[in-house]
Symmetry: C2
Subunit: 546 residues, 2 copies
Amino acid sequence: MSVVTSGRYTFPSYNLVFFIFLQLGLHSVEGVWPLPQSITSSPERYPLNPQAFYFTYGSQSAAQEGCSVLDEAFKRYFSLIFPDYSSGYGFLRFSVDKPFTVQVSVGRDDCDSYPDEDSSEQYTLSVSAGQASLKAETVWGALRGLETFSQLVYQEDFGSYYVNKTEIKDFPRFQFRGILLDTSRHYLPVQAILKTLDAMAFSKFNVFHWHIVDDPSFPYQSRTFPDLSAKGAFHPMTHIYTQSDVGRVISFARMRGIRVLPEFDSPGHTQSWGKGKNSVKLPTSSQSDLLTPCYSGSSPSGTFGPVNPILPSTYKFMATLFKEVSSVFPDSYIHLGGDEVNFSCWKSNPDVRAFMLKMGFGADFTKLEAYYMENIVNITVALNRTSIVWQDVFDYHERIPKDTVLHIWKGLPASYAAELSAITKAGYRVLLAAPWYINHISYGQDWRNYYTVQPLNFSGTEEQKKLVIGGEVCMWGEYVDATNLTPRLWPRASAAAERLWSDEKQTSDVDKAFPRLQDFRCELLRRGIQAEPLFVGHCKHEYQGV
Amino acid sequence: MSVVTSGRYTFPSYNLVFFIFLQLGLHSVEGVWPLPQSITSSPERYPLNPQAFYFTYGSQSAAQEGCSVLDEAFKRYFSLIFPDYSSGYGFLRFSVDKPFTVQVSVGRDDCDSYPDEDSSEQYTLSVSAGQASLKAETVWGALRGLETFSQLVYQEDFGSYYVNKTEIKDFPRFQFRGILLDTSRHYLPVQAILKTLDAMAFSKFNVFHWHIVDDPSFPYQSRTFPDLSAKGAFHPMTHIYTQSDVGRVISFARMRGIRVLPEFDSPGHTQSWGKGKNSVKLPTSSQSDLLTPCYSGSSPSGTFGPVNPILPSTYKFMATLFKEVSSVFPDSYIHLGGDEVNFSCWKSNPDVRAFMLKMGFGADFTKLEAYYMENIVNITVALNRTSIVWQDVFDYHERIPKDTVLHIWKGLPASYAAELSAITKAGYRVLLAAPWYINHISYGQDWRNYYTVQPLNFSGTEEQKKLVIGGEVCMWGEYVDATNLTPRLWPRASAAAERLWSDEKQTSDVDKAFPRLQDFRCELLRRGIQAEPLFVGHCKHEYQGV
């Protein structure tokens, strides 16, 4: 017997709770993950017959049949609720022939729009004999309610489906609940992205932050600058996202009420951009000069640094690129990056140094970075988009538009709390990612760390706290591709999902969350998501897709 | 910019090597993993046409057509060598019509036997124009040579296959190169085990250590004691291994030259055994008394501890069980466990204390454990099997037969080296697992730790070093099931595979191994193994099975 990290075997006490839970075969509406804001249920339950189960639109609903988002969701959730039946393994159970109808009503016909930062996701759900009534302001709220309803249904050992009498009023605690995928350090096939979007909807995540390009590769196939991926992708044909791929991702996400927030990080993290812009000597085209030539002494070393901030051509290129980006990605946010700029190359370059002098920046290269970022932010302002940037941009200067969102990624608990204070005190909105760097793995139940984060636990006024728009789980790609993405993401990200959706006080006990998350993880397996186990145990339906 | 564990992004220098490697599209015979003992190759290469490629038996070979192990291996390796062709994506290339024949000759017709501890795995492989000659003493050696040959073949960008002129003499450094899977903490579907066996053969592993039962569940369906799984498995129908399942695993392993070493760990780690033996009160059957009743003060507490070592019925039960085990599992080794026995329950039980007095053990419960293990070891001796036990058994006493194998699992580098010294000095054979507890994960390239282990780096004579029979990668199941087994195991386990197969001096540089292991990992993907990435980069054929 020994400690977890060196023991041949360990058996912490909390697994006892788990075993008891499974053995009693309990099913309770507290099984909904993330936990709704308000839920009351009774032991009264109603059998559901897949052959007499219907989704319909309420007569007062602003959206009716033909609303693509809900029409598709009805089909999807039917399959999720009745997996045996949908897979052809079901058999008729004539004993249950009373119909059950889920009646959905929304206040607004926003079927053809995209979810955005101010979309309401609140809903009410009332389950009674023979029917459930789901009401929401928007189709996005209705999607959240359908997810909740699907989790209320359970199957007994002999195959029958049931749902208990239940009343739910629900809405998210935070408006922005995101997952970042990094498709530059490893290429993720479109299918892997779609699978992630599917699983995101199960945990009520609503933003897919697509860190689409970075140093190692540029897989985004630009209409305007096709050389960027032709030269900067790992492979120009097989490791790219075509316009059609991107459109498919955006459409798939919309159907699940998920925003797609693209990031084109600059001026650092742009080595792959240089392959399509610097490596080939175009005939005096300024577009071949995107990256800063680094110097070794008095001559160019042949290597390149961050984007060159001193050339007008840089901003012309960026304006054209972001114009394309804003036409491809409908979301009102564009992520501009702005993190981890290494100044050594800029310092080595005599033209950059001369520019610094001319501009009166002295030797302070953060001023040069600020100058660059201001120009880039202004480009997105001109495109009528909200900029989101990594915290470095705030740390270096404050001359950025007040509606810019700052994205916190650095530091230990103390330092991200201080940053939350500082940024909100300056009046900016902020998004918290630092405690949810889920690519960092360790042995054991690290989901507990993700669960116990308290995003508003920082010194500040109520007004400041309102500026925290939400949080984001980041899956950086150094060690992650389609082989291990899903089991690393799920159910660990679901822990953050509950923190971002549910009431803080009702979800303050991580041990109470444990059996619920175990249960939810089994539900993910049942839905074909390769979610890894939290601890010793089993699911009725194990993952079979080996 | 920051350290790996907190940085938004890091880009260590060694990935540069990798990028260069990929960009030059190098293919070299050093790509064989694990590295053969002796290999010479030339730039001279031969095109291979799937339509004119044959495996045949040499005229002098003791095995001929009808040898199941090789007949099946020929089919298997044809598909592995020509994946496009086998998947129906191939097209005829009429330009290459010279036939190429791989002629396999073995010195002994051991086609219907099982690989065992003394099976030779040496082979020679000579590739020249139009043919390859593969010679081995045994069919198991021929299998290793076929694996090597399959890794020598490469496909160029336009789809043609080639193999270079090559001479290889090869044999394993260590005779025992194992992987442990734990099917008690989580049930692994048979398909997951078979997939692992397949991947094991690609890295030339030759022992599957099946830790089949433990505290949480007893999935082995015993012919003699069906209640053990009926009551002790997570589910008596869906979470068990039937006799037919076990037979399938053993047969599948045999076809790949892999031994199946079963472990029935006792006297500790047996809580699940108790469900079929203690929980039900059988009418005065001694078989209901397998586990020790723990006491709280002067009365039984209702909980049970390790196997009860004081009852003759215990040894009768164990003799019957191991008789069955030895008839089901053909391997000459049986693993008896013997680790982490918690004495507190034994101490609490008045009957056990009385027995201690009677036996003259005083208060030394290690003597009681020794007494128990000696009895169990003698059972396997009587069955003509070699016992393998965890190091605890050596640490507690030395009255065990000299041909018992000790299995080292504890400790940091210093302490396992001391244990290697002590056990080999006492004249016992030893198997090293401690540095390869691969279920323990951490962020980054931990494969480097597995690679740089030096199993013979301990103080001892040459004779002592010869007693180190090999090593074992252990995948304990607390946090692992079929959802994450494969990406956690591969290619990390392959690092240990090279350490156990290849020459120590030729594989002393972990940085040189890096691009080779990257290459091998891409080959695993190509073969359908969901092997995770080692670092930033890509494979020509990414994993698509999302």
